[in-house]
């Protein structure tokens, strides 16, 4: 780690590196120097060695942008955070955005242009695909040329496509991302304005391009338990983050969603019909009587309520939901529509089905595939992969040599978004600018560069971007600099449009069938498989099931019992398209007679981490791309027991009040008589009170706001150089995340109530871990931190044994030994990389505290507790985490700590944690509360 080897130093990137580029690491105690220091040749004016810089940029997922702020150390991006001003972020960052940092440094990324199997070079590619060369094969009008791009909202790509169309008018242009929306108009929501929300198979708090904003808006109405709190009903088949955060969650078979909505529609439509006289029906969970209560609640809040359908629900469901919102007077108030900024949205000629048809007809001579992974992530019946292989000349531009890349004649490494200029639209239409932070590490090319080469345009991507943005109205140097600095153009949300005419589908009576509904779902961690090679994400426990490194067939306990299977048994899921063997995972709260399967596993590309993880379910996906289908599920008798790496094994609290929740009513009753407890806790030691001259750090976590989305876990992993341990070690309960999210179930197995509890080092004032350490490697700082000194630790693990919260993590192996040189660049230089055999744990981001403390003291300015923001706090979309100092009585953390909802976990042990939790308040509907 002392100096970069030659191969790396050839990269432009390294020239940006400054003086203190040695990565933090415990490479022994040798004090004998022998290290090189490389100063700049010309020092960039904006850079001071040792001080991190921050740049705004944006990441695209399924075509939509999320604004980000990226921290960079000496030219090396090390941390991705949300852009506080960007409408799709509001300062938070989701797991994919944050983990995309690791993708930048992934050593498995494609690294050279190749043709057939021989490495060539960019020049060879641009020559072979130049208009001069290509015309001979694809015809003068380009009838034999087809392009497949990922779903995109980029203006510059749109312009380049237009240029291409000018050159090759008959060329086929297609856009495909399996999880992207394809409607011509997309709904927009104002969650903040809704008093009552009904989510129909919608995970709006943790999935989709607007999840961060919607989470924030949702939580803003729940910060203080009051009559103003919103109320969330969720009707869903699989358990989602949104469903488990709901005040009332109802199960429903996926095929029953439409009948349920139809009944709700009629309930709302004709109020004269006395509710109790309607026929009582059950829809595999939710019943007519519950629907009547919901309908009544919605009706009470006309114009101030909202019904959201999952983005992957069929058009008929969306039509019904639009009709219901119309009925409730919500249209134009809590919900409206804009034209989809995605290119080709709503036009079937741009679809992958159209491309597949052209391929089958043999009409395509040359296919250029930019991004995506259609050989893997297209529905099996489409047989895209086979058709793709038959095309004479194919090129794939991607980050990895994945399934598509392996089958393509040409492979061009793609530039990561942190390596390239670009643009895109947020879900609300806001124009966002993608700004590079480093030169392409592998010489990757952006989509714009590829298109420019194909069109024979010899302009830099930056020049092309500025031209395109100029066309959208971003004229002038000031406007440009401002947009780059902010990362987006202020006030550029798309105008509202009239939605399509609502055609309410006729209510079909629920059929009695013996088949099982199969739902195809985006995976919470690998998404559609594009993040499958990301260790942080593979090892991130699923927010609901805590499953890592795997996917499974999710079944309800009752259905599993009926099929005579248990978790780990294998089932054969048969759809008309295909049949696939999957291990079963029983999920409490899942709807009966339905199975949920997840995309993104069973990868067969050259990505080493992703190989062999889980099962590919794309072959089973209907050609229509419908996310719900019917299947038969049978126990596979000849299969052995599958071992899941699940980070939590016990889901009940067993009467231990670990994560507290209460209804708004009981809280109100309790709060009326609440008096803060000002008695000092009992102690055998006189002890001195913590010094008031320095800060006394403390944190509160609001369980009422925490949805369990796990963005904080990835933020912590990235900020604190937490290693990835792999599936076998997770099976052995050796995952390293300093911050985990405990998840408890209360009530029946059929439909339990869920509560998520982020659990991290509680920074106990009377820390049990400290007094058992034989070498004093963990002790207390004057400012109330439970310090962990890795370089002093000998690894007795005594501290972990005595930690009642079990938040300490141990380096069982040298987890950092196997990571590549490039991956080391993702490490935060402000945090020590831990050696094998040492303990580690949450430090309250002490490096951030010290950095702020030192800079305030150097500048001579007052040091405010609120100036320190921990990584988890920063990432949290709902702002459930508050951090600050107890010495500041006015601080938010003090206010929360002393409030009626605050409590210490395991308070009776006398550890005096500095982390307090605020109990979760369920805004339960009294009309339903008695039933539950």
């Amino acid at each position: 780690m002392t100096s970069f080897d030659d191969e790396l130093s050839r990269r432009n990137f390294v020239k940006l590196l400054g003086a203190s580029m040695a990565l933090a690491g415990l490479d022994g105690c040798s004090r004998m120097p022998g290290e090189k220091i490389l100063p700049y040749v010309h020092q960039p004016r904006e850079l001071t060695p040792g001080i991190a810089t921050h740049y705004a940029t944006a990441m695209m997922l399924d075509g939509f942008a999320t604004g980000l702020v990226v921290e960079s150390h000496e030219g090396r991006p090390t941390k991705i955070e949300g852009n506080p001003d960007h409408p799709a972020s509001l300062g938070a960052a989701g797991i994919f955005e944050q983990a995309s940092l690791l993708q930048l440094y992934d050593s498995n990324r494609a690294s050279a242009v190749r043709s057939a199997h021989a490495p060539t070079g960019w020049e060879a590619f641009s020559e072979a695909f130049s208009p001069r060369a290509l015309r001979n094969h694809v015809g003068g009008h380009g009838a034999g040329l087809a392009l497949l791009l990922e779903a995109t909202s980029s203006s510059v790509i749109a312009d380049m496509i237009a240029t291409l169309k000018g050159l090759y008018p008959e060329a086929g242009i297609h856009y495909y991302s399996p999880l992207a929306r394809t409607e011509a108009s997309i709904p927009q929501y104002d969650i903040r304005a809704a008093n009552v929300i009904l989510a129909i198979e919608s995970d709006f708090l943790a999935a989709g391009p607007m999840q961060l904003r919607m989470s924030r808006e949702f939580s803003d109405r729940r910060r203080e338990p009051s009559a103003d709190m919103n109320r969330l009903y969720a009707i869903e088949s699989a358990v989602t983050v949104t469903g488990s955060s709901a005040d009332h969650r109802f199960r429903c078979r996926p095929s029953m969603i439409q009948p349920v909505l139809a009944e709700l529609y009629s309930l709302l439509g004709d109020a004269s019909v006395p509710a109790q006289r309607a026929a009582e029906r059950s829809y595999g969970g939710i019943t007519s009587s519950a629907l009547r209560v919901i309908a009544a609640d919605l009706s009470r809040h006309k114009g101030q309520c909202l019904v959201i359908a999952g983005e992957r629900q069929p058009p008929s469901v969306h039509a019904l939901v639009a009709a219901i919102n119309e009925q409730l007077g919500n249209t134009g108030r809590t919900v409206w529509r804009i034209r989809s900024p995605l290119l080709g949205a709503g036009d079937g000629s741009f679809s992958i089905e159209a491309l597949a048809g052209r391929l089958r007809d043999g009409a395509v001579d040359t296919l250029i595939c930019i991004g995506g992974n259609p050989s893997y992530n297209t529905p099996g019946p489409l047989q895209f992969d086979g058709a793709f292989r038959k095309v004479r000349n194919t090129a794939y531009v991607g980050l990895y040599e994945n399934e598509t890349g392996q089958n393509a004649k040409w492979l061009v490494p793609a530039a990561h978004y942190l390596e390239t200029w670009g643009d895109g639209r947020a879900y609300d239409g806001t124009l966002s600018v993608v700004q590079p932070l480093v030169q392409p590490l592998n010489g990757g090319k952006s989509a714009v560069e590829i298109l420019a080469a194909v069109c024979g345009v010899e302009k830099s991507p930056l020049a092309l971007l500025r031209e395109s943005l100029g066309r959208t109205g971003l004229v002038g140097e000031t406007a440009w600099t401002d947009a780059v600095r902010r990362g987006f153009v202020v006030g550029a949300a798309a105008p509202r449009i009239q939605g399509p005419t609502i055609v309410v589908p006729t209510a079909a009576a629920p059929e009695k069938t013996d088949h099982i509904d199969v739902t195809f779902a985006a995976d919470s961690r690998t998404h559609d498989g594009s993040f499958a090679n990301n260790g942080w994400l593979q090892e991130l426990p699923d927010p609901v099931t805590k499953l890592t490194w795997d996917n499974a067939a999710h079944l309800s306990p009752a259905t599993a019992a009926r099929l005579l299977v248990g978790s780990g048994d294998t089932v054969l899921v048969r759809t008309p398209a295909s049949s696939i063997r999957l291990p079963v995972l029983i999920v409490a709260g899942h709807a009966d007679d339905s199975v949920t399967v997840h995309f993104g596993y069973g990868r067969r590309g050259a990505e080493r981490l992703a190989a062999g993880v889980g099962t590919d379910v794309f072959p089973m996906w209907p050609a229509t791309g419908a996310f719900v289908s019917s299947a038969s599920v049978d126990r596979a008798v000849d299969a052995g027991q599958h071992t899941f790496a699940i980070t939590q094994s016990h889901w009940k609290m067993d009467g231990r009040e670990q994560a507290k929740s209460e209804t708004l009513r009981s809280y109100n009753a309790r709060q009326a008589t609440f008096k803060p407890d000002d008695h000092p806790p009992p102690s055998l030691f006189k002890g001195e009170p913590p010094p008031a001259a320095v800060k006394q750090w403390a944190m509160t976590i609001d369980l009422g706001l925490c949805t369990g989305c796990s963005a904080c876990v990835v933020a912590c992993q990235s900020e604190n150089n937490i290693p990835v341990v792999g599936k076998e070690d997770v099976e052995k309960s050796r995952e390293m995340q300093w911050l985990r999210i405990d998840r408890y179930q209360d009530g029946t197995e059929e439909n339990p109530e869920f509560i998520a509890q982020p659990m991290l080092c509680q920074q106990c004032e009377r820390a049990p871990c400290e007094y058992v350490c034989p070498v004093g490697a963990t002790d207390h700082s004057p400012d109330g931190l439970n310090e962990m000194v890795y370089n002093r630790c000998v690894g007795t693990r005594f501290c972990s044994n005595n930690c009642p919260y079990k938040v300490r993590r141990f380096n069982w192996f040298d987890y950092n030994a196997e990571i590549s040189e490039t991956e080391k660049m993702a490490k935060n230089p402000d945090v020590t990389v831990r050696e094998r055999g040492v303990m580690e744990k949450c430090t309250f981001c002490v490096q951030r505290i010290r950095e702020k403390e030192i800079s305030a003291e150097v500048a001579g300015t007052p040091f405010l507790g609120s100036s320190v923001v921990t990584a988890c706090q920063q990432a949290c979309p709902t702002r459930a985490i508050t951090f600050g100092s107890l010495t500041e009585p006015e601080s938010e953390v003090m206010r929360q700590r002393e409030g009626p909802r605050a409590y210490n976990v395991l308070d009776e042990l006398g550890t005096r944690p500095r982390v307090r939790y605020l109990s979760r308040i369920r805004n339960a509907n009294p009309a339903l509360d008695t039933e539950q």
Binding site: P33, I37, V41, G50, V694, V789, R792, V833, V858
Partner: protein, 216 residues
């Protein structure tokens, strides 16, 4: 039959016992003593540099301030090394064709940095911050020694934890007014005790010996 052991074995055994009594405690004591020598700590280390930069000349004769080259010492955790372009700011005019400066010229021509040999190295788990030490009145000289007398830079401090902690536990004696930070050969007067106390108050210097002061 004579005795099994001849008479001299008594002396031999006694000698062995006395030697053991010396050697057994002696070995660890020697190791502990050795750890404190320059050979073990590395103080006195003075590697040859790619460019024979002469601090004596630049500091003493030309009176160039430390911060001209080590520009971020007051702002950043690292003091910083001058970029190659900083050298040529002057050496375009003087000694512009010196053989000694060839690596600098080459660096500028090839856009690759000059690879200096690090003299003062802390382990990777130690987070030293120049700016706060400068702000609290710890002079360059306190840790780096009389750089103004070094034609080739020498490490003067042992950089052991004990050496750090000695000052952290009792900073007063090592402090100086902030405007004298770069002064070399500053005389420590009899009033240093009083001055130290005064500076501790003025700069709000804390006794920071808790772990996360340096280890994070």
């Amino acid at each position: 039959m004579p005795a099994l052991f001849p008479r001299w074995t008594n002396t031999a055994v006694r000698t062995v016992l006395i030697s053991l009594a010396v050697v057994l405690p002696g070995v660890p004591i020697s190791v502990m003593a050795w750890q404190r020598t320059p050979g073990a700590t590395g103080s006195g280390y003075s590697p040859d540099q790619p460019v024979p930069f002469n601090h004596l000349l630049h500091v003493t004769d030309f009176r160039i301030d430390c911060r001209y080259c080590h520009a971020s010492a007051e702002r950043s955790s690292v003091a910083g090394l001058p970029p190659s372009s900083a050298c040529t700011a002057c050496h375009n005019e003087v000694w512009s064709n010196s053989i000694a400066l060839a690596p600098v010229r080459q660096s500028l021509a090839t856009n690759r940095p000059v690879a200096w040999n690090r003299v003062n190295r802390l382990p990777d788990f130690v987070y030293f911050n120049h700016s706060i030490h400068v702000a609290k009145g710890v002079g360059c000289e306190t840790c780096h020694g009389r750089v103004d007398r070094m034609s080739q830079v020498v490490r003067t401090a042992p950089l052991t934890m004990q050496w750090c902690v000695d000052c952290h536990a009792n900073p007063g004696p090592k402090l100086r007014p902030v405007d004298e930070i770069t002064v070399m050969g500053r005389a420590v007067g009899a009033d240093q005790v009083a001055l130290g106390d005064e500076l501790v108050r003025r700069y709000k210097v804390r006794r920071l010996t808790n772990c996360t002061t340096c280890h994070r």
